[in-house]
Amino acid sequence: MKMPGASGGARNPWYGRIGFALVALGFLVLAPATLSDFGLNLFTKYLCYAIIAVGIGLAWGQGGMLSLGQGVFFGLGGYAMGMYLKLQAAGPGKVPDFMSWSGVEKLPLLWKPFQYAWIALPAVVVVPMAVAAGLGAMVFRRRVRGAYFAILTQALAAAFVILLIGEQGYTGGTNGLTNFSQAFGLDLADPTNQRMFYFITAGVLGAMFLLARQLMASRYGRLLVAVRDGEERVRFLGYNPTVIKVIAFSISAGMAGLAGALFVPVVGIISPALLGIVPSIEMVILVALGGRSSLVGPVIGALAVNYAKTSLSNRFPSGWLYLEGLLFVVVIGFAPMGLAGLVGYGRSALDRLRGSPGASPADEAKRLEDEVVPA
């Protein structure tokens, strides 16, 4: 009943480094050179989802914590950024347009700090991390986990969305925050600036991936995997599983918040429809398809699912929902290791064909054991 941790394997470390450099080259040179402005804008949006997916991969794949409320953290980051941009657009001393429509004349206290970039920008990461740490500390300390935790995070997403819609005068209601003209003095309609946002997003994704990789290669990463596979054993060894889990959960929330903040200037809107129960659980399938136990898998899954969604959901709206449902059933039910699992399977099959020492019966037994997913 073991899933491989991300840091397993004794392959030459240079393979990974060269692979990362090649992919980075593709992202930074090839994509901007070949894609149209519109295509690049869509691709930037996919990269935002890939950042969320890296976070979910860390919390769920490595730490065993299935959060169905990742949209909340995405939304907290997005709204923090959106509030700042909205206030920039309104100009000093004025309230954003939607507030005057709802009859709110004075800037609410909650909005006041977001006039300043030096508060709004850190808040993008700090607020989601703080919320996740608070909730995580309360529930993990009392050993609420597994399905209970998943249900609680889903309820959090439901409550958050209802609050956003209900407090229309403060949050923009169902419409959310939109109509941003500029960010940091840059015109958002200008393709050059959108290109710059692309590079920033790609850079952040690379940094988050490396962060996750470093974490998993460290002693902390070993402990996280150990907590996933046997929380009580880790406790008996003298570690505090609560702290280990809270760290991973709040890092994954911070990543989602960062993704939300990048999403807003690129897509131009943040609204409850992007972060409720349904979008939150869709974020999980990105990771499941790519392979929850690998770190690259979530990124690939996020790009693949979003690409499929954009190209299919407009042409066959009904067909896409069936396909999405089927994706959940087939991937989780029958290929729980996702695409990364297929690659691993192919690699070991290749080893067997070559008759390399890596394919001894003992290794094969271990591989089969690895494929069983823990509860």
Partner: protein
């Protein structure tokens, strides 16, 4: 004073609806450790059953006819889901959650394709129109009907679990699956039966919900999260827990909503649940085992 009582009645009504939905969940979750996200779509199936039957049975009797029919249809859907998918995934609760979510997406889309995306209306029989006025509180017959239905369902389940051999086996599997299997209890059959009853109750809940509003493909989604919270607060597989939790959550929701706003009430209820889990992380009532928590 009158409005205080009115809120209590509203809360009881919300609680009764939640309980009807949560009863099925607490068994499938408690006995099989399966989190069935498609439970909401079984509610929807029950509601659409009532819609389909009102054409052939007329306004006065169709609601009563739909109750058993919806029970069987939703139950059959549940057994199909259990046999095809869930049986293969025992011991992986989080994965069943995601798989059944996929099933629920497909069922919702199926309903959209079959019945249209627009909501449909189920007529209220004349004997449910109106209400009584007691101690300053308006009690619509529709709400009272749901409460009576819940009471009947709870009584039925209690009799089933306490006196019938099938119910005894069900309790045995819930308490210790391995030992029950060793004692010759066909656990697979017990599981299937539990799933049939749990899903069937969702169908009955769907029929009841037609009397509170219109029927649409996302009918179940609106209730499923709250129903799962009832299970979490009540404790796994505990009827007593589910009853108390459903009424407590309903009444809390009604009072906070009355004092502030509907959106704020959801947040208060959520915070209250997290705070409650600090005191009792496994819910109100816990099945005693020697396993490590």
């Amino acid at each position: 004073m009158g409005s205080l009582l009115t809120q209590a009645f509203t809360g009881l009504g919300i609680g009764a609806t939640l309980l009807l939905i949560a009863l099925g969940l607490t068994f499938t979750f408690g006995q099989m450790n399966v989190i069935n996200m498609a439970h909401g779509e079984f509610i929807m199936a029950g509601a659409y059953t009532a819609y389909m039957l009102q054409g052939s049975f007329g306004r006065e009797t169709s609601l009563l006819v739909s109750l058993p029919v919806a029970f069987v249809i939703a139950g059959a859907l549940g057994v199909a889901l259990e046999t095809v998918l869930i049986r293969r995934m025992y011991g992986r609760p989080l994965d069943t959650l995601l798989v059944t979510w996929g099933v629920s997406l497909m069922l919702q889309q199926l309903a959209r394709d079959l019945f249209g995306a627009a909501n449909v209306q189920v007529l209220t029989p004349s004997w449910l129109v109106g209400g009584v006025h007691v101690a300053g509180v308006d009690m619509p017959y529709a709400r009272l009907f749901i409460m009576a239905l819940v009471a009947a369902a709870v009584a039925g389940i209690w009799v089933y679990m306490t006196y019938l051999p099938q119910g005894r086996r069900m309790r045995a599997v819930m308490q210790n699956r391995q030992l029950a299997a060793c004692s010759g209890i066909p656990t697979a059959r017990v599981d299937r039966r539990t799933f049939f009853i749990g899903s069937g109750l969702a169908g009955v809940a769907g029929v009841a919900l037609t009397q509170l509003g219109s029927v649409g493909p996302t009918l179940g989604t609106n209730y499923i999260v709250d129903a799962f919270l009832v299970v979490v607060v009540g404790g796994l597989g505990q009827i007593r827990g589910a009853i108390i939790a459903a009424i407590a959550l309903g009444v809390l929701d009604a009072y906070v909503e009355w004092g502030t706003s509907a959106s704020f009430a959801k947040v208060v209820v959520f915070v209250a649940i997290v705070a409650f889990l600090q005191a009792r992380p496994q819910g109100l009532f816990v099945l005693k085992t020697r396993a490590l928590t």
